[in-house]
């Protein structure tokens, strides 16, 4: 398979609403995808992920901007002339054709000889684990099997880019995890370029080489899953990737990428996220994951508080600690910690190496940030 690069340059998509108002679905996005990589577009509902993907597939015309697949400018090329194949959330299987005909459809369009179609269809059905399903009508398959057929149908034409729009969201949790592994395995095996749209961060984390986080039609951060999780560049990304605890701090000094932060009367040395440049004019918050906080029965920690609730999760325990900055969740492995009973006075210590400084945007209320659970 010839994997291709994909690049978007200053792409906009503006829809006309019902009453003629403009809906800016995609607002000036640019990115470059290297051949053979698995890239995820991640973001909350309505942020323009699907629209971006559909522009790459050719179903929508960009209002402005340029899209390239490989070296070819495809901005004004219809979907059927692009070397892409898409896997849809609702599968989009042809109900009037059996599995074999569904999978062979793209090959027929490419005028591949019948005998070759047959061989390639069974080979690809093998790959997705649906050997011998050729003659079944799609309606007789389970959701997971249908999605495999859809995947096979897209893969069999050996597209230079494979596109996914939330392909797993119609499946139940177990099947979803299984298919996730499957998709990653097949992508690795075929070395195809894949662009995957989802609003599920776990999917994005487990599948991708690169995650592109979008919000309000814009790209807010691009990076490896590790970077996005550990080094978010904004409160939005940090929050979107999972529960965070936030503490407002005063930066008293900068030491290169490290800020000396004052919290109560303690001084902490916290690095600023890789992608953020220190700026004295900004306000900052300290942000860390719940597993990077530690509960102390005494006043050893930096932040005093009272245990509000303990939630037992089996392998871990989540404690909600009431502090001046709202209710902060701490996640601890059960066997390592002694459980502090609800109502006891405690303090929280923060692992400085696992904590970063994030700029605090105007108008964001910390109390509500800490309350919002994800």
């Amino acid at each position: 398979m010839s994997a291709s690069s994909v690049s978007l340059t200053n792409v906009y998509k503006i829809f006309k609403g019902f009453s003629g108002e403009e809906i800016v679905a995609v607002n000036d996005i640019s990115f470059q995808i290297e051949p053979g990589t698995f890239v995820t577009l991640l973001g909350p509902s309505g942020c323009g992920k699907t629209t971006s993907l559909r522009m790459i597939a050719g179903f929508e015309n960009p209002t402005k901007g340029k899209i390239k697949i490989g070296d070819e400018d495809v901005t004004f090329i219809p979907p059927w002339k692009r070397d892409t194949a898409m896997v849809f959330q609702s599968y989009g299987l042809f109900p009037h054709m059996n599995v074999g005909e569904n999978v062979g459809y793209g090959l027929k369009m490419r005028k591949v000889p019948v005998s070759e179609i047959h061989d390639r269809v069974s080979a690809i059905l093998d790959l997705v684990g649906l050997n011998g399903f050729e003659d079944r009508p799609p309606s007789s398959l389970s959701g997971g099997q249908q999605q495999r057929v859809a995947l096979a149908r897209a893969l069999v034409v050996e597209p230079s880019v494979l596109l996914f729009d939330e392909p797993l969201s119609n499946l139940d949790v177990l099947l979803r995890e299984q298919m996730r592994v499957e998709i990653r395995r097949i992508q690795q095996k075929t070395g195809i370029t894949a662009i995957y749209v989802t609003h599920d961060r776990t999917e994005a984390m487990t599948l991708s080489d690169t995650v592109i986080v979008m919000n309000n039609g814009k790209i807010v951060q691009t990076g490896t899953p590790f970077d996005i999780y550990e080094e978010p560049n904004s409160i939005f990304v940090a929050g979107f990737m999972g529960k965070m605890a936030y503490f407002p701090v005063k930066i008293v000094a900068w030491e290169g990428k490290n800020g000396i932060a004052e919290l109560y009367d303690k001084k902490l040395t916290i690095r600023i996220a890789k992608t953020v440049t220190p700026n004295d004019a900004h306000q900052y918050v300290m942000a860390c994951r719940p597993e990077s906080l530690k509960i102390h029965e005494n006043g050893k920690g930096a932040v005093p508080g009272v245990v509000a609730t303990n939630v037992y999760l089996g392998n871990a325990i989540e404690s909600y600690i009431k502090t001046e900055f709202g209710e902060i969740m701490v996640k601890s492995e059960l066997h390592k910690e002694r459980l502090c009973p609800e109502g006891s006075k405690v303090s929280l210590s923060i692992r400085e190496d696992k904590t970063i400084l994030l700029p605090l945007e105007q108008g964001i209320d910390l109390l509500s940030l800490n309350k919002a659970s994800t």
């Binding site: 219809p78 059927w80 609702s90 009037h96 799609p138």
Partner: protein, 731 residues
Amino acid sequence: MKNKWLKAILFSAIGIILIVWVFRTLETEFTTISIQRLKEAGLLLSQSVPSRSYDQWVSATRQQYPDILPFISEGNAEFGEEVRAVISSAADQAFFDWAQSLPFYDYGLESTYYEEVYFYPKRVEWEGHPVYLSFTPIIPEELGYVSGTLILLHDGSVIRNYGNLLTGFAVAFIVLLLCILFVNAFSKDPILVYTILIVFLIVGVFIAFPLYQAFRLTMLKDGVFSLEVWKYVLSNRNYLQALWGSILLGVLTATVSTAIGFLFAFTLTRTNVRGKKFFSTMATLPVISPPFSLTLSMILLFGSYGLITRRILGLTNVDIYGLDGLVIVQTMGMFPIAFMVLSGVLEAIDSTFEEAAMNLKASRWKVFSTVTLPLSVPGIASAWLLVFTNSIADFANPLILAGKYKVLSVEAYMEVTGMNHLDIGAALSIVLLIPTFLAFGLQRYWISKKSYVTVTGKPSGRILEVVSPGVKRMLFAMMAVISGFLISLYATIVAGCFVKNWGIDYGFTFDNIVEALQRGKDAIGDTTLLAAIATPIAGLLAMIVAMIIVRKRFPGKGLMQALVMIPYAVPGTLVGISFIIAFNKPPLLLVGTAAIIIINYIIRELPVGVESGIATLRQIDPSIEEAAQSLGADTATVFRTIVLPLIRPAFISSLSYTFVRSMTAVSAVIFLISAKWYHITILIYNFSENLRFGLASVLATTLMIIVLAVFWGLRFFVGKSSSMQKNIITR
């Protein structure tokens, strides 16, 4: 992007130059040849000019060659003779006054003195006519020298028309070329753009244009704007009477039909009487029964020589012709419309409402009058309106059965075919539109808002008997009587085939069948052929339009949808009249051809096909088509391999609908038939008019057989694919 512009402009420039060059050359060539011929004609003519007393020759020539006007100038200036224009009338004088002022006049004369023909190569305008001027020497044989000049005015209109035609073609070619070049260069999906343009062309030329022409004609008098026609129509007592007649007929028919429709719908959905299948067949069959068939049997049974009225009851002065007969016939033909609307509505009303009322100890009558009836009021109203508009637009039944009773549709027909008053006919059929539009507006803005019933509600399948056994028996009896009446009507037509001379001699015979098939075979063949041609075109076109309306975004979509839907609301009479108004002159000279009938079928049945295509397509997940696109199928391929198979039920039902309706068309087609292309329904009408009821019966029966065969044949196909339909409706 810039490159594309350059390329498109370059190619269009080259194309335009080429086209202009080719057409110029053609035109010049043709003009040269024509001029050469005119020149020779002049020379030939000049040899017959006598040496004196030209008058007789001139008038003879003018009679013989209407496209040449000869004038004579006497004398040869070369010999020092006096040159004198031969003038024997005011027209001659006018000509010479004009000609002598032309700059080449003297030169022309002079050339002839040297025995040369001078033909002025440009077209000039003379008294509003395009003409060519030639100067030919007159050399009388007895003299042997030039004695004068023959000046000829040649009619230039043929050359001019040819030139205009060529220019027209050239412009069309250029427009086409520009379209193709620019669409190909700038559209992502040229096939789609062409499809949209072609659909617009079709609906523009065959829907908007004729209606506009019909409307325009009513606003003209001798080619200038005038309200004369409307003044005449709206002040004429006859027409007002006809308008009132139509409305009264509509109100009566709609009321009775809705009552009967409700009777059937209610009994079949709310009780468990026996023979439901039979009754629902009876209540739908008349929809596809050919026009005139019920009228015919009414006349056979109740006419002045009717089996029942004359033979059995011995009445001599009964007259079925008129309002009462019309109401009966229309009701029998149209109560199925009300039935279908109402059974849909009643099915959708969940019996739980009624159960709840029963639980509250309401009596059966109370339940009906306080729950069932109020809930179905919007349905009743729309059924009533639908029958009303159908009755008003009906043409076939009143044509035969109205007698002295006047209705608008027949009046319009009489004006057009009887008096050749196209403008009045058009105006009358436009008046016919008004009640229809009012009804549509009422339906849209009032009834649909009052509707409590969500039609998506699934029938619960449970039947709650809201009537007492006694009432049920009564309902059953009423349905049985009506069904019996309907059956006897149909049986009468079949019987009519085998009776020697209805009303006089009830002897058995096969002669009718032989004669009717003999005389009608051409009409049957024509009708079937034309319907068979129109059917696939209409079906495909409807599905294509449905697909672009549901799936594509393009400017003017609302307009396209509105235009496509217009023929649904417009009475056939108006469609027919507007077609003969619009298509009776070149380049769209279609009157008298098979094409105009086929196009009429297609246009008239398009809305229903499009509607059902749209409804089906809306249920299909668009990602199915997108998946096909992303696998390499272009728009046409997606339509062929995905959309059409998926909306097959809509496609096939639109095929059967178009075929049946085309076979049984009357109101529009009656204006469009010609000696060459006849329609079986019109032949039935002609036979009935001439009291050849036997022959009419045979043809009506034949038509019923064809229609039923096709209808059930296609039903069979649809039935097979209905299991597939379930799969299409994903989630």
